[in-house]
């Protein structure tokens, strides 16, 4: 594992250096891409100037709200669907298609329903994240060994305590997968919504920089998002490993 981590680091560094070289030698034109070092430099300046702090915090706030509601909502919906197998089978084909539907088309609708604030953006993030959570909640509940439920009965546990003490921890690995996907999709949804329709936030700022030929800012912000997502991923990766290592998985 250690070795793989090393190699991975080298691969990433090598890739960045390659890009740097290609940009510097003009193989990739300046109008197409700027060297990674300049991206980092510009990002540093942007962060220092604080000009984008508002956008950054707004986006992070939106993602956080979308993510939390996706996890909670997905868990609740998933649990309900799991207990209604007939409804579940009816809904299955729709769940699978879900991501192919361009929600952005409904932005005006969302504005009407929720007013002109962060809610429509958050809702799109939520809509992206919630299905991953629903699917994984159902998977997790599916995989609870029946013998554990029997054990609960032998110990005289009622339905609520069975859910809390047995079902939840038993389904934890799949729930965790759901949570990881939910955060990824909340990110994707919020940033895409901002990119396409919004008037503020990181996604908007990238689109704005793109429109104004401000490649330096655009790439700096892209770098920011990539770094952020990678860090969040790494955090979840480590956390998951910790939990799963105990269970020996």
């Amino acid at each position: 594992m250690k070795r793989a981590t090393w190699i991975r680091t080298l691969v990433v560094i090598g890739f960045v250096l390659l890009l740097e070289g290609l940009c510097r030698w003009g193989v990739i034109g300046r109008m197409t891409m700027i060297p990674p070092s300049e991206m980092a430099d510009q990002l540093w300046k942007l962060l220092q100037s604080g000009r984008y702090n508002g956008h950054i915090f707004e986006t992070l706030g939106n993602v956080a709200v979308a993510f939390v509601s996706a996890v909670v909502g997905g868990f609740v919906i998933g649990s309900i669907l799991h207990s209604l197998p007939r409804a579940r089978r009816a809904i299955d084909p729709f769940l699978a298609t879900y991501y192919a539907i361009p929600f952005f088309a409904f932005y005006p609708l969302l504005v009407v329903i929720f007013g002109l604030n962060a809610a429509p953006i958050i809702l799109i993030g939520f809509l992206f994240g919630v299905v991953a959570m629903i699917i994984n909640t159902m998977n997790g509940l599916d995989r609870i060994p029946r013998v554990l439920i029997k054990t609960a009965r032998v110990n005289g546990l009622g339905p609520l305590r069975t859910a809390w003490l047995i079902k939840l921890p038993s389904a934890a690995p799949q729930l965790f997968t759901g949570i990881k996907l939910a955060i990824a999709y909340s990110f994707i949804g919020v940033i895409a919504a901002e990119f396409i329709m919004s008037t503020s936030g990181l996604g908007y700022s990238i689109a704005y920089a793109f429109n104004n030929f401000d490649n330096r800012t655009m790439y700096a912000l892209m770098l920011f998002i990539i770094t952020l997502v990678t860090i969040v991923n790494a955090f979840f990766h480590v956390w998951e490993r910790r939990i799963m290592a105990r269970r020996g998985q």
Partner: protein
């Protein structure tokens, strides 16, 4: 059969909610199901719609071909070679959760406009889930299959073609389901930005001219096609998994 009926009931519930939203929000925000259906029929009768339709789905076809072939190849290689798999997996997962729309300007700058950008954008959405699922599938193939292959004196090519791929197929179809949806989304987003043809363009245009019925009708038709393809894949998925279970 009963399941089909249940799905219809669910669809009816969706339509009822839709109608409710229409009453609540008014027709600039959302067209009624009736008006949308009417508009959809008109679109279905117009040759230009089919032009857009072909455009989108041929882009989807290319993108999907790239995503599936590329993703499977990457997944197979990484799955069969443990070290590269370990090296690559976290990178793939990071790329998977990256909001790829932020890469859109880059795609545009590299591929220019039109078909190739759309295909590229669709493919980068689809290729990673396919690769991840394939890798997962190959990695979890029971070691005893590889031993069996050695005892039966299979060559490396025979091993991949007759053992690894068939063993991984159920998972591949699951990956394909996710990959399909995301590829379509990618193609549509691509069309929404810079294009003069395709269903995504139609939607964006309709949003621009505030032609709500057309917008809703196109989304509806898209959703219908996607549901049908996806239901087909789901059916295949269930059958394959059933055979293994």
């Amino acid at each position: 059969m009963r399941q089909f009926f249940d799905s219809l009931v669910f669809a009816a519930v969706l339509v009822a909610i839709w109608q409710g939203l229409h009453w609540f929000a008014g027709d600039i925000a959302i067209a009624s199901p009736g008006v949308t259906a009417e508009r959809a029929m008109v679109l279905l009768g117009s040759p230009s719609f089919w032009g857009h339709f072909r455009e989108t789905f041929s882009a989807l076809g290319y993108a999907l071909a790239i995503a599936v072939l590329g993703g499977m190849t990457i997944g197979l290689v990484l799955g069969l070679h443990r070290l590269s798999g370990e090296v690559a997996e976290p990178i793939l997962v990071s790329l998977y959760s990256l909001p790829k729309i932020t890469l859109y300007p880059l795609i545009l700058l590299i591929f220019g406009l039109g078909m190739s950008a759309k295909v590229a954008f669709g493919a980068i959405h689809g290729i990673i889930p396919v690769a991840i699922f394939t890798m997962g599938a190959v990695k979890t193939i029971a070691p005893v299959y590889f031993k069996t292959a050695r005892v039966l004196q299979l060559s490396r090519r025979q091993l991949v073609a007759t053992v690894v791929i068939p063993a991984a197929i159920p998972e591949l179809v699951s990956g394909l389901r996710v990959g399909f949806s995301l590829t379509l989304l990618g193609v549509l987003i691509g069309e929404m930005f810079a294009s003069q043809r395709g269903l995504g363009f139609l939607v964006m245009n309709a949003i621009g001219t505030l032609d709500v019925p057309t917008m809703m009708a196109v989304v509806l038709l898209l959703a219908l096609v996607a549901v049908m393809i996806s239901a087909g894949l789901l059916y295949l998925d269930r059958r394959l998994h059933h055979r293994v279970a």
